[in-house]
């Protein structure tokens, strides 16, 4: 088979994920976009099992499984965080998260 197809699919999915992360204002949508990125990674890992002479054949699949679990854990915690934020601020818009509200008051 032509592995380039799933690879390119993975690349495009990753790019879509990046786009989504950057485009979306709603934290949950951002999380979805992140899921797309992680899935793209998984796809590439699984595809790599086909295309590469691995030291341990099938490592990609194993890796992908780990990534899935990682992603699940992250989503769980992430949603808890977003919900906490929502509880406190009544919004889930990431634009509202300021990084530096520091007024410049530096002496000398």
């Amino acid at each position: 088979m032509h592995v380039v197809i799933p690879y390119v699919v993975g690349a495009l999915l990753f790019a879509l994920g990046v786009y989504g992360v950057l485009r979306r204002r709603n934290a949950i949508l951002v999380l979805m976009a992140v899921e797309l990125m992680l899935n793209a990674v998984n796809l590439i890992l699984v595809t790599a099992d086909v295309s590469v002479r691995a030291v341990l054949p099938g490592t990609g699949g194993v890796f992908a499984l780990f990534v899935i679990v990682l992603a699940a854990a992250e989503v769980g915690v992430g949603l808890a965080i977003v919900l906490q934020f929502y509880r406190m601020r009544r919004i889930v818009v990431v634009d509202e998260v300021r990084l530096d509200t520091d007024e410049e008051r530096v002496a000398g």
Binding site: V18, V21, L22, R25, V94, D95, E96, V97, R98, L99, D100, T101, D102, E104
Partner: protein, 644 residues
């Protein structure tokens, strides 16, 4: 005490006396403390005189103990590379004579000052500084190491600075002091460089080695010309003479000290000392000759128009030192030294006598004097002897020494000397002409100060110049001869001023100085004629229009002469103003450019920081965009890197 102990001790004693004296508390400590200070000063000078006499007694005695050999390299003070600076003495007869002269003048000045500064609260440091000054001069005289000589040389400069600036009530005193130090210091730049060249080439600072070293002509000429710069500074030769007239702001005894035997004589003495080198360099001698000729005339002409008693004497010093350097230039160091000695005597006498006048009268200005002869006979006669010697009136000392100089110059015009013939002519003409001028201004001085009627109560009433430190005159007292402490030194100095010239007939003295036999040939007539002409014309002008300054006859040249040919202005324009401008420029550049770059770096960095910090004052998504963009760019970089 043997010479090998006396020699090294000679500069040390007054030096130590000075140091100890400086430790005395300043301020008016009452009579006890004054007595202590005076005692120290007089003792220092007195012991120095004794030591000098001891050395003079047997100047050529050599010790067999190499360690104590006063004429050897001496005690090492420090070694720089292969150059060992040593404290040792080199005393031959001329040195011994000069040392005696220095000691005598110093002693006279010390004694004289006790009375002259009787109510000065800062007498103690003054006396100590005089001692230091004496020690420094004796070091120059005795040292056999060029660096040690330089030390004495510059310490004198510093002492002159301190002493000239001594007077607290004269607004011009500090300026004059600074000027004296700075101008001589400028000359010393050359002196230091000259010495540096000499010792670098010779590989030793030891005078004997340097004198014996075979230099290339170029090096030697350069070094000697540099040395001459220093000599010009210290000995007040054109063009570095400008400090000397201003230095009259110092107390009068100090003027005596500076003009008679120390400071100004040092330059002449150093050339004398290094004469074996000068002999090898006609260029240096020619320069010296021209310098001398200009100085002789410049000094003499400037002296004619001065109204300040001390300034007349100051300019006369410039002129007389010119005679000495002229003698050196024309190849007669002996004549120079002879004139140095006689000049030391009569100039010290003149200044101390002038001090007596000022002390008694409260002013420096000839225009406020007149008719002093009746009140101050001793002072008057001191003046007569001093001025006579200055003008070269036979048989006073100045006549003989000046005659020697003229003879030497005349000899040089015949060729056969290292100096070029034209330089001999220049020196001879200047010296000769100056004899007449000197006689003129000496006569004028005498007449204006001591004859005629007193001008103390002028049309505008009493108008007292406070010209020296201890003058606290409410109203003019009747002028009178000075107290004994000032009186005695005058008497002491009268003797050599009058008689030292006859010493040329003393074989010991003559051979010691390597003077030629005195011969009063026809050649003596010419200066005599000029002398009579000068003195006579001054007298004649004075007689013709009584009460008017003979200098009025100078007409439009008078202000020019009075200002010393405006060389002060020239110096101001050419040196002071540019240096100040340069300083302003450099200081501004230091702040704006050099420090500006530094501060600019700081400001720029902080500004960048502010900019970047502002860039980080954003919301999360922008940060996310930045992160992803950064990752993308870095990924591309890596790709290109891996592909390359």
């Amino acid at each position: 005490m043997s010479v090998d102990v006396a020699g090294p001790l000679l500069p040390l004693v007054p030096f130590l006396a000075g140091l100890i004296g400086l430790l005395l508390p300043p301020g008016d400590g009452g009579p006890t403390r004054r007595r202590l200070a005076a005692g120290l000063g007089v003792t220092g000078a007195g012991i120095a005189l004794l030591l000098a006499l001891r050395v003079l007694l047997d100047p050529n005695e050599r010790s067999t103990d190499p360690f104590f050999d006063p004429y050897g390299p001496g005690y090492s003070l420090g070694t720089f590379g292969d150059l060992t600076v040593g404290y040792g003495t080199f005393i031959d007869a001329p040195a011994a004579y000069v040392a005696v002269a220095v000691a005598v003048v110093a002693l006279c000045v010390q004694v004289y000052s006790i009375a002259y500064l009787h109510d000065d609260p800062r007498y103690a440091p003054y006396a100590a500084q005089v001692s230091l000054f004496t020690g420094a001069m004796l070091l120059v005289v005795c040292s056999n190491d060029l660096i040690m000589m330089l030390i004495g040389w510059e310490v004198m400069g510093a002492c002159s600075y301190l002493l000239i600036g001594h007077d607290r009530r004269l607004p011009e005193a500090p300026a004059a002091a600074v000027k004296a130090f700075l101008v001589t210091r400028v000359g010393d730049v050359g002196f230091l460089l000259g010495i540096a060249v000499l010792i670098s080439d010779a590989g030793s600072t030891y005078l004997d080695t340097v004198l014996a070293h075979d230099y290339s002509t170029g090096t030697l000429t350069a070094a000697l010309l540099l040395l001459l710069a220093g000599v010009a500074g210290k000995s007040a030769q054109f063009p570095l003479h400008t400090w000397l007239p201003d230095a009259m702001a110092g107390p009068t005894p100090i003027s005596a000290l500076i003009h008679a035997a120390t400071m100004v004589a040092a330059g002449v003495y150093v050339v004398f000392r290094t004469y074996p080198l000068f002999e090898q360099s006609p260029v240096a001698l020619a320069v010296l000759g021209v310098m001398a000729a200009i100085t002789i005339l410049l000094g003499a002409l400037s002296a004619t128009a001065q109204d300040d008693l001390k300034r007349v004497l100051a300019w006369s010093t410039v002129s007389q030192i010119g005679y000495m350097t002229g003698a050196l230039a024309v190849g007669s160091p002996a004549a120079a030294l002879f004139h140095l000695l006689t000049h030391a005597a009569f100039k010290a006498l003149l200044f101390l006598a002038a001090g007596a006048v000022i002390h008694a009268f409260g002013t420096n200005y000839l225009s406020r004097m007149g008719g002093l002869r009746a009140h101050m006979p001793v002072t008057f006669w001191s003046f007569v002897i001093g001025l006579g010697a200055l003008a070269g009136l036979p048989p006073l000392s100045g006549f003989w020494s000046k005659e020697n100089v003229l003879a030497a110059a005349a000899h040089a015009t015949e060729g056969g000397e290292p100096v070029p013939v034209w330089a001999g002519w220049v020196v001879w003409l200047a010296a000769l002409l100056s004899v007449g001028i000197t006689a003129w201004y000496a006569t004028r001085l005498l007449l204006r100060a001591f004859f005629g009627v007193s001008r103390a109560h002028g049309p505008a009433g009493p108008d007292w110049e406070i010209g020296f430190d201890d003058a606290r005159y409410q109203r003019p007292a009747t002028p009178h001869d000075p107290p004994a402490l000032m009186f005695l030194p005058l008497l002491v100095l009268c003797v050599p001023a009058a008689l030292l010239g006859l010493a040329a007939y003393a074989p010991g003295f003559r051979t010691a100085l390597e003077l030629e036999d005195p011969h009063l040939g026809v050649a003596v007539a010419l200066p005599m004629v000029l002398l009579v002409l000068g003195a006579g014309s001054a007298w004649w002008i004075w007689r013709a229009v009584p009460g008017v300054d003979p200098a009025a006859a100078l007409g439009r040249a008078r202000p020019l002469f009075a200002s010393g040919f405006r060389l002060d202005d020239v110096q101001h324009r050419l040196v002071v103003v540019p240096v100040r401008a340069l300083a302003r420029l450099v200081a501004a550049a230091d702040v704006r450019v050099v420090d500006g770059a530094v501060m600019g770096t700081g400001t720029t960095t902080t500004g960048l920081g502010r900019l970047l910090a502002a860039g980080h004052r954003v919301a999360l998504p922008v940060a996310a965009i930045a992160v992803c963009a950064g990752a993308l760019v870095l990924g591309l970089v890596a790709w290109l890197g891996a592909a390359a």
